[in-house]
């Protein structure tokens, strides 16, 4: 009998093991090849092995009715008690602060609109990736620069009603701007004031400022006016990562940064989940949630099975938007009044439900725990109906 070719083993695995996920099929195939070399397997044997593997796999699947959500909650909750409560520096970038540990997990699960420390990791395209000078050039395009960033001192002249700004030449050079640029930019943005440049000194003269408070108001506006870069991005740091240079930014503006010349838009990312959902869609946001939680856990030296995290991320993105886990998100959207009331702000939920005349069919888990009935979980999911034996008619 001719020996089995690898190709025919592959086709057996593909046809008989169609129920297996692709990773397991691949692993099974590799193992079969290995054993085929040693033992010269017959076709029947290969088929039997694949059948056995499928049975084993199906036995390992989660059963219907398993309380996966509770298991996920416990699996993530317990390790989080061991996390630090502090904000630490980001690994490798000491200059940029990043929220890590428990606060970060809470932030993710609460789906906050703005993380407390938004950062972006900006990857660069082929041309700018390997050269520090070129990377810094891109960083300068991204970094938002204001007068405040460049100034050495800002003084208010009360007598002449002027604001005098001394620009630090070094910083000016680093930012790639000139005094003329600044004057031009400010002139086009502010119609209410005149700008005069003298060496490295900028004098701001409001056209009509009778009171000191007017002067202060204008001063504030001028100080924080963005001269270049992206809004929301305050600081950039160029760091080597492997062979290439990556720009880390404090502050995030994902939509705009993808359009900046020199940026590789396929790898650049932000830690603001909502920005990802807006620019790349929910599916990308789901992936980002999983990744962020896994990274945060890992950074703390904790290991949680991804399946729990994937479940959380799937629930958060179930209706196409990123929703929090909590009374404003998933729990708040529950159909059952009692389930909502059992979670938070009990009375408010009950009052509102009474006002609307809601009814509760008691089909969920929480409601049934609350009233002390069997819970529809595991074996409690199964309902038994029995037909009574037909009584033989008594003969008279």
């Amino acid at each position: 009998m001719p020996s089995l070719s690898p190709k025919s083993i592959h086709s057996i695995v593909e046809s008989k093991g169609a129920a297996l996920p692709i990773n397991i099929r691949e692993e099974l195939y590799q193992k079969l090849l290995e054993y085929h070399k040693k033992y010269r397997l017959k076709k029947k044997e290969v088929e039997a092995i694949v059948k056995e593997a499928v049975e084993e796999y199906e036995g390992a699947l989660i059963e219907p009715g398993e309380a996966v959500g509770t298991v996920a909650a416990q699996s993530m909750g317990e390790p989080s008690t061991q996390m630090t409560l502090n904000t630490f520096h980001y690994a490798g970038v000491a200059e940029i602060n990043v929220t890590l540990g428990l606060p970060r997990i809470i932030e993710l699960v609460d789906a906050r609109k703005n993380p407390s420390t938004p950062i972006m990791m900006v990857y660069l395209d082929e041309e700018h990736r390997y050269d520090k000078k070129k990377a810094e050039e891109v960083a300068r395009r991204i970094e938002g620069t204001t007068i405040l960033n460049l100034a050495q001192s800002i003084t208010t002249d009360i007598i002449n009603l002027e604001i005098i700004v001394d620009i630090e030449p070094e910083r000016l050079e680093k930012s790639g701007l000139t005094m003329e640029d600044i004057q031009k930019k400010l002139k086009s943005s502010f119609k209410t004031a005149e700008f005069e440049v003298d060496g490295y000194t900028l004098i701001v003269r409001p056209k009509k400022a009778e009171k000191l408070s007017d002067l202060r108001k204008i001063a504030e506006k001028v100080k924080s006016h963005r001269l270049k870069g992206l809004s929301g991005v305050n600081k950039t740091v160029v760091r080597p990562s492997g062979e290439e240079y990556v720009i880390y930014t404090e502050g995030s503006n994902f939509k705009q940064v993808l359009k900046v010349k020199g940026v590789d838009p396929t790898r650049t990312r932000t830690n603001n989940i909502h920005e990802i959902a807006e620019v790349l869609g929910v599916e990308a946001a789901r992936n980002a949630i999983v990744e962020e939680i896994v990274n945060t856990m890992q950074e703390q030296g904790l290991e949680v099975d991804v399946r729990h995290i994937m479940l959380v991320a799937d629930m958060m993105t179930l209706n196409g938007t990123v929703k929090a886990i909590g009374r404003h998100g998933i729990v708040g959207g529950k159909a059952s009044v009692l389930a909502r009331a059992a979670f938070e702000i009990t009375t408010q939920h009950l009052f509102e439900a009474a006002e609307r005349g809601e009814s509760d069919p008691l089909s969920g888990v929480v409601e049934n725990v609350l009233i002390g009935q069997p819970v529809p979980v595991g074996t409690g999911m199964v309902k038994l109906t029995m037909r009574l034996p037909i009584q033989p008619k008594e003969k008279e």
Binding site: P21, I22, N23, I24, E26, D125, L258, K259, K261, P265, T266, R267, R269, I276, E278, V279, L280, G281, V282, E283, A284, N287, A288, E291, V306, R307, M310, D314, T317, L318, N319, G320, T321
Partner: protein, 82 residues
């Protein structure tokens, strides 16, 4: 060079492949899992990925997800109006 070309979101690492199901595939899917359309997870019509595909409310999107446990698996979302 890169600035001229419009960036396609499907090129981003975080975005998995999306595909619109045909009517036959839709029926098959609902039969396979024994579910109604309303039981599927949703995706907004204004989602960038949906807009890129040009899907309409009522379409089912098949998402080819990469998973560390299963390798590749398929997830389905129904397009809904916002």
């Amino acid at each position: 060079m890169a600035a001229k070309r419009k960036f396609n979101i499907f090129d981003h690492e975080l975005v998995p492949e999306h595909r619109i199901l045909s009517d036959e595939e839709k029926a098959e899917l609902l039969k396979k899992y024994n579910i109604k359309l309303s039981q599927l997870p949703q995706i907004k019509a204004s989602d960038p990925a949906v807009e890129e595909l040009g899907a309409k409310p009522g379409d089912i999107i098949e998402i080819k997800r990469k998973s560390p446990t299963a390798g590749i698996y398929y997830y389905y979302r129904i397009v809904v109006e916002d």
